[in-house]
């Protein structure tokens, strides 16, 4: 077995070894049971006191959503202005300029919604103050928002009939104090001792061995990179994200960053089972997600390890695989693994440039984001999966002629309508967005924007179309990776993706929580012979089939115009 593949397997196993106990721990934390981190209680009590919050007040699903949306709005307004005026604020040793309003609009939404689509470059577009007080802050709190939303959702199914779903603030703050902050300190320290900078010093200058004068961007990056992965945020300190040698110094840090972006989404599936006392159901969900992951990972490994057929024609050796956009210290195998995880989990950080990956890899990356529920982002991945699950309950119910039920609650017209709307939302945003972009590109190439539409694309033909499709897909999935050749810092992309980002975040949170809230408040029907069981192998495969069919129907035509067309023309 070669060492590169062995590295991939070891990374995956390490993820499981950490995620499974972490899931059990989180279930206890959110259920208020005794855990070893209870020594932090006074810190939390202090935070709640200063914020004027009484965590004993239970909320129903509407109140929880109001609290969630209110605090997100506060962050939007705060961050928008700080980014615009960052040049006039302290901690700007490199003298970087303030953001234009449209770029600030895009950036702030993108970080509030846990996406981290970056239309600026970390070295020149932001200051140390905004990196920390806006972007890193949002990386923590947007993740905690997602986790707290998931716990509210769990609460609806813990008791037989309930409309009290706990206190949103309580779950939100505990996600930070009991999970994100301690783990970030640990990961940040590992990065710091492997070479990632932590000091507030600005750019450095030196004369290279050959006599060139070189400037080096630096800054307190280690803490930022830790939460960027743990929170499935993905926004990089430097422009080149985790391909940058200071952001991801060596193979070990590559493994650490990979493991840290996967553990919370993996763990939360386990948490769900422990929390609602239905462990079999959560293992079934875990199984479907794992099959989905493998269905994308194995062919991606194959296409990257096979190398670029066009370069093979030039006669060079691609012993280890395709290398354009990749770093030698990682190699193609773990890069393909990273590309799979970062797209299914909605992190969006990259250790290799997706624009330069093989056409079929691009297809798998896009599909990972379109499906967006094979583990998915912190908290929200499970909510996305739940929508597919409700559709599967509905369809199976019709097939066997029984009233659809989920965990003892009747699934009726209202819930199915919400689920159907949320299912339709993604293809609408992605396809309509890409269609508008393509229209502007072809019909208004000369529009006088910061980047003229005719110069948007870094690659001609089918691949150029893929660049636009990828950008919209990434925005809707709140992923944040890109085919970075796209010239996206202009008013069209900043505003259009900003809108897609917002809908792609909040509706898929509100929808599932509304369904859960409605279901949880309904009368509990004990299981009988006539109940459609949702924790069986058959039902799990049914859910997988629903996921595959829905996504194939929605996206196959668009994929055919982009990466699939490129793949088939390269076969010639």
């Amino acid at each position: 077995m070669n060492t590169e593949l062995l590295g991939v397997i070891a990374t995956y196993l390490l993820t499981l070894v950490i995620a499974i106990p972490l899931g059990r721990y989180l279930a206890k934390v959110f259920a208020g049971e005794r855990v070893w981190t209870d020594f932090l209680k006074p810190v939390e009590a202090g935070i709640f006191k200063l914020a004027g919050i009484n965590t004993k007040e239970e909320m129903d699903w509407k109140q929880a959503m109001k609290a969630l949306l209110t605090i997100n709005l506060v962050w939007l307004i705060y961050g928008f202005f700080v980014l615009i005026y960052q040049d006039k604020l302290p901690l700007n040793p490199d003298g970087n300029p303030g953001m234009s309003p449209d770029l600030s609009f895009n950036t702030i939404i993108s970080f509030v919604v846990n996406c981290n689509l970056q239309h600026y470059s970390g070295e020149s577009g932001v200051t140390y103050l905004t990196q920390h007080f806006v972007l890193m802050f949002l990386q923590f709190v947007s993740t905690a928002t997602g986790i707290a939303a998931a716990v509210i959702f769990f609460k609806a199914f813990r008791d037989r009939t309930t409309s009290k779903l706990g206190n949103f603030w309580d779950f939100f703050v505990k996600s930070i104090t009991r999970l994100l902050l301690p783990l970030s300190i640990l990961v940040g320290l590992i990065l710091a001792f492997n070479g990632t900078p932590t000091s507030y010093d600005g750019k450095d200058q030196y004369i290279s061995v050959q006599g060139d004068t070189v400037n080096v961007s630096r800054g307190p990056a280690a803490g930022f990179i830790a939460i960027k992965h743990l929170g499935t945020n993905g926004g990089g300190w430097f422009g080149a994200n985790s391909t940058h040698p200071l952001e991801n110094p060596n193979y070990l840090t590559g493994v650490v960053e990979l493991v840290s972006q996967c553990i919370i989404p993996f763990a939360l599936v386990i948490t769900f089972g422990y929390f609602i006392r239905r462990r079999k159901l959560s293992w079934m969900i875990f199984g479907v997600m794992t099959i989905g992951m493998l269905l994308l990972l194995v062919p991606m490994l194959q296409s990257e390890l096979g190398g670029n057929p066009a370069l093979a024609k030039l006669g060079i050796s691609q012993q280890t695989g395709a290398m354009e956009g990749k770093e030698v210290r990682f190699g193609p195998a773990i890069s393909a693994y990273w590309s799979t995880m970062t797209t299914i989990i909605s992190t969006g950080s990259v250790n290799n440039m997706h624009d330069s990956t093989m056409p079929m890899s691009g297809t798998w990356q896009l599909l990972g984001m379109m499906i967006n529920s094979f583990f998915g982002g912190c908290g929200v991945g499970l909510l996305n999966y739940f929508i597919y699950l409700i559709i599967a309950v509905f369809i199976s119910g019709l097939m066997v002629g029984r009233t659809p039920e989920f965990l003892g609650h009747k699934v009726e017209a209202r819930e199915v309508k919400i689920a159907a709307l949320i299912t339709l939302l993604s293809p609408f945003l992605i396809l309509a967005g890409t269609a508008v972009a393509s229209y502007v590109f072809t019909a208004h190439g000369e529009a006088a924007w910061a980047v003229q539409p005719k110069s948007w694309l870094n690659n001609p033909g089918f691949h150029g179309f893929s660049e636009m499709l990828y950008e919209m897909t990434s925005s809707n999935a709140n992923n944040g990776s890109g085919f970075e050749g796209l010239g996206d810092n202009n008013v069209f992309w900043n505003v259009s993706t900003g809108i897609v980002l917002m809908f792609g975040r909040f509706l898929p949170i509100i929808g599932p929580i509304a369904i859960a809230g409605l279901l949880g408040a309904k009368k509990y029907i004990p299981e009988s012979e006539g109940t459609l069981k949702t924790d069986t192998l058959t039902f799990s495969l049914m859910t997988l089939a629903v996921i595959i069919v829905l996504n194939a129907l929605s996206y196959f035509p668009a994929l055919t115009l982009g990466p699939l067309a490129e793949y088939f023309t390269m076969l010639k």
């Binding site: 590169e4 062995l6 070891a10 200063l50 914020a51 004027g52 919050i53 609290a67 605090i71 705060y78 020149s124 007080f133 890193m136 802050f137 300190i185 940040g188 070479g195 900078p197 932590t198 000091s199 030196y206 290279s208 061995v209 050959q210 060139d212 400037n215 080096v216 961007s217 630096r218 307190p220 430097f238 422009g239 080149a240 391909t243 940058h244 040698p245 066009a310 370069l311 030039l314 006669g315 060079i316 050796s317 280890t320 354009e324 956009g325 770093e327 030698v328 210290r329 990682f330 190699g331 624009d355 330069s356 990956t357 093989m358 870094n458 690659n459 085919f483 970075e484 490129e566 023309t569």
Partner: protein
């Protein structure tokens, strides 16, 4: 509703202090004890800083081992990949030119021996490493330009090849900067012996 607004603002303020002041300051304090004291590890040669250990730099002189092509010309105040798609005609021509250049400077080099990393741009544009094969194909050139024994240079390459992590995981790499500094040292020693 008004209650939520006030709570949101107060909670945000408290968390800003915890997450944006206390947290990074803890890391900055701990980072002082790392190799580069938190500012990135510097490489010093003859008393001068000649680079950063982790950041690749441009080598174009045939007397040095070359690194990978870079989309940003190894300018470490920025970072980026080429973002060229795999079927882009201009890109394929660029790669063909790189192959020609390598063959011109390394006479007798067969195309089939050129590893992909030597003719493709890295993701960051600052890749500090090349594959062992990428160094091996340059040994002959470097030795002849420096009038050094080929076997001596080959030994140097072997000594600067890092294997997989713990011998088990990931690829082998050669740090171009470290190798070239050792090479300068070797030339120096050889020159001293001749005197």
């Amino acid at each position: 509703m008004k209650k939520y607004i006030l709570q949101s603002i107060r909670l945000t303020a408290v968390l800003l202090i915890l997450l944006c002041v206390i947290y990074p300051v803890i890391l900055a304090a701990a980072g002082r004890f790392s190799k580069g004291e938190g500012g990135g590890e510097k490489v010093i040669s003859k008393g001068k800083v000649v680079g950063y250990a982790l950041i690749g730099q441009s080598f174009t002189d045939p007397r040095y081992f070359w690194g990978r092509p870079s989309a940003v010309g190894y300018n470490a105040a920025g970072s980026a990949g080429s973002n060229k798609g795999p079927s882009n005609e201009d890109y394929l021509k660029q790669v063909a030119d790189r192959i020609d250049t390598l063959q011109k400077y390394n006479p007798g080099l067969k195309k089939a021996d050129i590893p992909a990393d030597m003719v493709t741009a890295s993701g960051s544009g600052l890749d500090p490493a090349i594959s062992p094969q990428g160094a091996i194909i340059q040994i002959k050139r470097v030795a002849s330009y420096r009038k050094l024994d080929e076997s001596k240079v080959a030994e140097l390459v072997a000594a600067h090849t890092s294997g997989p992590l713990w011998g088990l995981f990931g690829p082998s790499t050669v740090s171009v900067l470290q190798l070239n500094l050792a090479l300068d040292q070797l030339s120096q020693t050889a020159a001293n012996q001749h005197q």
